[in-house]
Amino acid sequence: MGYLKDERPTTIGVEGGWNLGAYHYKGSRLLEEYVAGLKHKKLTGSFCPGCARVIVPPRNLCGRCHRKMDGRKTVSDRGTITCFVVSPPIYKGKLKVLGMDPVEIGLVKDGQVVIPVFVKFDGSDSNTDTVLLNADPKDVHIGMRVKVVWAKELQGSLADVEGVEPI
């Protein structure tokens, strides 16, 4: 039942690419402030005058109070894992990130697992997404204490935080 155009038996596809660069985005300058702090091993959060929450990295508006989070607070680079996920082993040729194979370009070793985690840094009220390093997947648990693994050369970029590791 339904209206059917019967001149074609199946759907068809066409070859082609799509230019993501055709889109524009306007972001805030808050990350500039945040990465400037990272250069000095400082984690900057924004403070809400309405509910007193501290969010890391900083946000412009409090999601619940709808107030401007004008205040700033530096929080500890130590914190607690609130959630984690252990990935399946990543093998060469199985995953593409931005068109690149993470094993081929040396980001992860063949067969390595990655452990994305949410961390609540001491003094903050938010989850920050990062990865757990230097840990046995069997030992990871919610409530695990961790600290930031800082990059050897700090550049004032999000990459300055390589991840976290167990304390």
């Binding site: 759907t11 805030s28 990350l31 924004s46 412009n60 990935s87 980001l107 990062t130 390589e162």
Partner: protein, 415 residues
């Protein structure tokens, strides 16, 4: 507030499957609409307006509503498209209610759909990139490390969100992966009794599901919903028409849709996430409270007879059932163990198999409303719950995991 009483008087679906290559979007959508019109015994001429919707960017056409009008017989009539991510179908169903309750129209068709197979990448890349592109692009300008992007990619968009939720729920409720096996097995078993469902497995057991490999702990292959092609439609009418056309209309008694702050993807500007437990789902709880109040329901545990919960992942059936007030905090998995949530149980959850067995995303939350209507009308055939259904609860979930829709349908208008 003056609102007219409104009811669902007809339901129509397509058979859901991985690839409906034999039809295009317009043809597939018309299939569901014609089935709904036939079920309601009304002609397309009698329909005043159409409320339609699917996920933006998931299929091959960005604005399919622009060329479905002629297939639906909607030319010369109002067509209103609504898109709210995973809750799209719930919002489309509620949109059908709004335009009739307000007095704007007397009879409308609300139809929602998804045609995943029209995208080579099954929505996962093209569609979900639309959700995440803004913040990733922004963060890339500040040196977001590739290693972190790998981490995000391996967890994978929607599944990743659900994995975190599941971990939180397990931690605070004490439920285990074996309960996810049980929910998924129930979904496939129930789906086998629903001729429109996608993943059907008669007699499927938790042991069968437990044999499937882990994708990302705590999820196995057997836990994960399919990507379906399909559409579902309801005919919605005001009271006098509803009483004339349907022996047992399914009345909209209460509905609400609440959101909360974004709770997983580090927001538009890559800021931290203020909701520290993504399974908290405050929007769902707020929606339920409001919808129950409107429906005059005081104790959902005893007054709701059956619920269709949006559960692409089995953990979601459990914690959403708690958020909807059907079980006490952290106890839904115990009710599952004792069979309370089976078709013939005390509180049947997803007798249709739910989203876990059939996921045509835009349509998924609409199907919850449609399935509740079938239960009230007594038309759910093999998956009809054996008890008298007075109130049925339909839930939808989406957004950056912060949107919810809750709709209570009943066998009387309730006021």
């Amino acid at each position: 507030m003056k609102r007219r009483n409104v009811a669902v008087i007809g339901c129509g679906q397509t058979k859901h499957s991985s690839r409906r290559r034999d039809v295009n979007v317009a043809e597939m959508v018309s299939e569901a609409v014609y089935n709904a019109l036939e079920d309601a015994q009304v002609s397309a001429r009698e329909v005043d307006a159409f409320v339609v919707g699917n996920m933006p960017g998931f299929g091959g056409v960005a604005q399919p509503e622009q060329w479905i009008a002629e297939s639906l017989g909607a030319a010369g009539k109002p067509v209103l498209r609504i898109a709210t991510g995973g809750t799209t179908g719930g919002s489309v169903g509620q949109g059908g209610y709004y335009v009739v309750a307000s007095g704007l129209h007397d009879m409308v068709v609300a139809v929602a759909w998804e045609k995943h197979s029209d995208s080579k990448e099954a929505g996962a890349t093209t569609g979900l990139l639309h959700v995440g592109l803004g913040n990733f692009f922004h963060a890339a300008g500040y040196g977001l490390s590739l290693k972190n992007l790998v981490a995000t990619s391996v967890v994978g968009a929607a599944a990743g969100v659900a994995v975190y939720q599941a971990m939180f729920y397990m931690h605070r409720s004490g439920c285990g992966i074996e309960h996810f096996d049980m929910v998924a097995a129930k979904a496939r078993r129930n789906a086998a009794k629903n001729k429109y469902a996608h993943l059907q497995w008669p007699g499927c057991t938790a042991e069968d599901i437990a044999k499937t490999d882990i994708v990302t702990y705590p999820f196995r292959y057997g836990h994960i919903c399919p990507a379906s092609d399909g559409a579902s439609a309801i005919v919605v009418a005001e009271e006098s028409l509803a009483r004339k056309k349907a022996k047992q209309p399914a009345w909209f008694k209460g509905l609400a849709s609440y959101t909360d702050e974004e709770n997983q993807l580090q927001s538009e500007n890559f800021g931290g996430v203020g909701v520290t437990d993504p399974s908290e789902q405050r929007g769902c709880w707020l929606s339920a409270v409001k919808a129950y109040r409107m429906a005059g329901i005081v104790d959902p545990k005893t007054e709701i007879d059956v619920a269709e919960i949006y559960q692409p992942f089995p953990s979601q059936e459990l914690f959403f059932a708690e958020r909807l007030g059907l079980f006490d905090e952290g106890t839904a998995w115990m009710a599952l163990e004792t069979g309370e949530t089976e078709i013939e149980g005390r509180m049947p959850l997803d007798p249709s198999g739910g989203v876990n067995a059939t996921n045509a995303i835009g349509s998924s939350a609409m199907q919850r409303i449609l399935e509740c209507a079938l239960q009230i009308m007594g038309k759910a055939e093999e998956h009809q719950v054996p008890k008298k259904v007075r109130n049925a609860l339909a839930h939808g979930w989406g957004g950056v995991t912060n949107y919810s829709t809750v709709t209570v349908l009943g066998d009387t208008p309730g006021r």
